[in-house]
């Protein structure tokens, strides 16, 4: 009768086989959870900048783990070491796993060498969110910006990442642009590598 009708017990989380990442939950379950995250953080701050920073922190924790998980599962324990490589990793691989699709666009800033933008017409976390007028430019995409910063930072590409609404011609809702501004050292290293 050994093991009959019993699930195997693992004493350590690392002994457990890594899931394939195909499991899903309903979008509403996530939306409810995310809304609680935002509401809780609203009670902890007195201004919008602080709220965005806290959401970003929460996202950072997710991003750092996503990088580790994906590098291990999808890339045979290797990670991107070049700027464009890591950007397209975020834009395609990370986005696909987290949001079920590749991000709408990845662009290089025209004015600054160190700026890149990932844009999404309807960011998953903003689907059920409307911002009250008195909250100005607040964008819950700060959470996703945090995820991006978490991935980049943990991969050795420190950057400042922010989320912005960008109004679109003929569209009712603005799209969200995640603006990535890499640290100087990243660009210097990139230049050296040629």
């Amino acid at each position: 009768m050994i093991g009959v009708g019993k699930i195997k017990q693992y004493s350590n989380v690392l002994d457990k086989p890594l899931s394939k990442g195909k499991q899903e939950v309903s979008l509403s379950a996530f939306a409810f959870l995310f809304s609680e995250l935002v509401q809780y953080n609203q009670t902890q701050v007195d201004n919008i900048a602080e709220l965005e920073r806290r959401l970003e922190d929460a996202g950072y924790a997710v991003g750092a783990r996503v990088l580790e998980l994906l590098c291990h599962r999808d890339k045979g324990n290797r990670r991107e070491t070049r700027l464009l490589g890591i950007l397209s990793f975020v834009h395609s691989t990370v986005w696909k796993v987290l949001f079920g699709k590749v991000a709408d666009s990845l662009e290089k800033g025209t004015e600054h060498e160190d700026e890149y933008m990932i844009s999404e017409k309807e960011l998953l976390v903003n689907r059920f969110i409307s911002i009250p007028k008195d909250m100005g430019t607040f964008n819950c995409g700060a959470f996703v910006a945090g995820i991006v910063r978490g991935v980049l930072d943990s991969a050795g590409f420190p950057a400042v990442v922010t989320a912005h609404f960008v109004p679109m011609e003929g569209q009712q809702r603005p799209r969200t642009t995640i603006l990535i501004k890499f640290a100087e050292e990243v660009l210097r290293r990139e230049a050296r590598l040629g």
Binding site: I7, G21, V25, A29, F30, Y40, V62
Partner: protein
Amino acid sequence: MGPERNPKTTRLLGLFWITRNPRLLRAGLGHNYAIQSIEQRGSSQIFNFTVLSSRKQIKGSMPPVAPRSGDAIFANVERVNAELFTLTYGAIVRQLLTDLEEVEEVNKQLDQMGYNIGIRLVDEFLAKSNVSRCVDFKETADVIAKVGFKMFLGVTASVTNWDADGTSCSFVLEDNPLVDFVELPDTCQGLYYCNILSGVIRGALEMVSMKTEVTWVRDMLRGDDAFELQVKLLKQVPEEYPYKDDE
């Protein structure tokens, strides 16, 4: 009578909540209302509405809509990767631990968050599942386990450990998307990591007139072989029509 003192409207605010369709109100009792207009009187909003359907009418005049299975609903709703959900939940718990420091406080806050979710989630549950009124607590528990858990988390729970008078039972979860990648450090041994779930169940049941107490009996993160949530029915609030017409 001034609109502020109109019992229809004052009671309305306590008993109804607004669905995603802002012009449609739905009561926990299963009555649908359409809002005709909204007036702003001072700080309160006055809703003028007409009754579209009530459960009684549906029963009498229309064939009942068949309840849908949890699998069928889950297959039809929009879904997201469970890892995003898991990691986001982890980020929330970590934030709470940093902010509140005391594990007990974190348990409380998670339960409160779950409660907030539960009172809104039941609306979506009723709208999508087509379940008719459960005759007793046993049926309610079954529906939660087979339909509720499945349609939101994609897992099913089993119902066991009924007490003699049918007012207390356990949900057993072998698969729980909240806890992938999780291990409790020594400093958090008192943490009920999934406490949000107990809040959800308590909140959702309260909206369908059942006061419950939900406690963890087994927790895989604490070395048990499954997750077991005990739900105890404390009180069934009798249903009453939201207002009397002659008031």
